[in-house]
């Protein structure tokens, strides 16, 4: 027995013609909100807390002092801030275990400190130690 017509196969489809538009909209939203940071900096590892004195042989230590006027004293000799990279590079070439102890005055400009650090990075110094400033 045939019961009437067979049910028609209904074509149920989600309209996808506007899908690219929706995705474009989302894409533009994320494009606008994404901030690709181009900011860069100088990296340094701070000494661990506490006053742990590390025993470094004197011959492996270069004392560097920067005063409030931006003058640099390296092992008791005043040097030009522009020559730091060159001199430290020489010292590292002579002794690759060299640790640079950087000490600043409380009134030293931050820019001066960054410049000195930049110079040390330029010289390829890996072992930089921060000493507490003179109060």
């Amino acid at each position: 027995m045939i019961l009437g017509k067979r049910k028609k196969d209904k074509d149920v489809e989600i309209p996808s013609s506007s899908l690219p538009d929706i995705v474009f909209l989302l894409l533009i939203f994320f494009l606008v909100t994404t901030s690709i940071d181009t900011e860069k900096g100088l990296d340094l590892v701070l000494p661990p807390p506490g006053n742990v004195e590390l025993k470094i042989p004197k011959k492996n230590l270069a004392n560097m002092l920067v005063n409030a006027q931006g003058q640099v004293l390296l092992d008791g000799k005043e040097i030009n801030i522009r020559d730091v990279a060159r001199i430290i590079k020489q010292k590292i070439a002579e002794n690759d275990k060299l640790v640079i102890s950087l000490k600043t005055d409380a009134d030293t400009d931050y820019q001066t400190y960054i410049t000195v650090l930049d110079q040390l990075k330029k010289a390829g110094a890996k072992k930089i130690s921060l000493a507490e400033p003179e109060q």
């Binding site: 474009f24 860069k40 600043t104 009134d107 960054i114 400033p133």
Partner: protein, 139 residues
């Protein structure tokens, strides 16, 4: 004399795979986006030449702003007392042991102030720092 008409060539760029391409771009930007609700303080960064990007993901970076008026902001928390900084930094370290600190300090600051931040960071246990700088400078 009759010239033969040029047969029309239908040139069309296939657009069937366009949604796929856009989807790929969309997924890239979705993954790359890190939402930040804070914009920090206005600082004038120092200049340096040997600067490099922070290695690793931005998700592990905690940014500290310090402007010339000695106000300090950590991500979105304003620090009222300098000694509060260590507990905040310690908390950050506990939440994410791979944490790195990005320091955006105004170049007009003195080292006395910067050293106070250093001390707090050391006490908080966050030792990996990056001094943010702008490229340039005569050196």
């Amino acid at each position: 004399m009759k010239f033969q008409k040029k047969s029309k060539v239908i040139v069309s760029i296939p657009t069937a795979s366009l949604p796929d391409i856009i989807f790929m771009l969309l997924i890239f930007f979705m993954v790359a986006t890190v939402f930040r609700q804070y914009s920090g303080l206005k600082v004038e960064l120092p200049t340096a030449t040997k600067i490099q990007k922070i290695p690793g993901s931005k998700r592990h970076v905690v940014t500290i702003w310090a402007d010339r008026n000695h106000s300090v902001v950590v991500d979105d928390i304003a620090i009222k007392k300098m000694s509060n900084l260590r507990s905040i930094m310690y908390q950050k370290l506990v939440n994410d042991p791979q944490v790195q600190v990005a320091l955006k300090i105004d170049k007009h600051n003195k080292m006395g102030f910067v050293n106070k931040i250093h001390q707090e960071l050391r006490k908080g246990g966050t030792l990996k720092v990056h001094y943010f700088a702008t490229p340039g400078g005569e050196f």
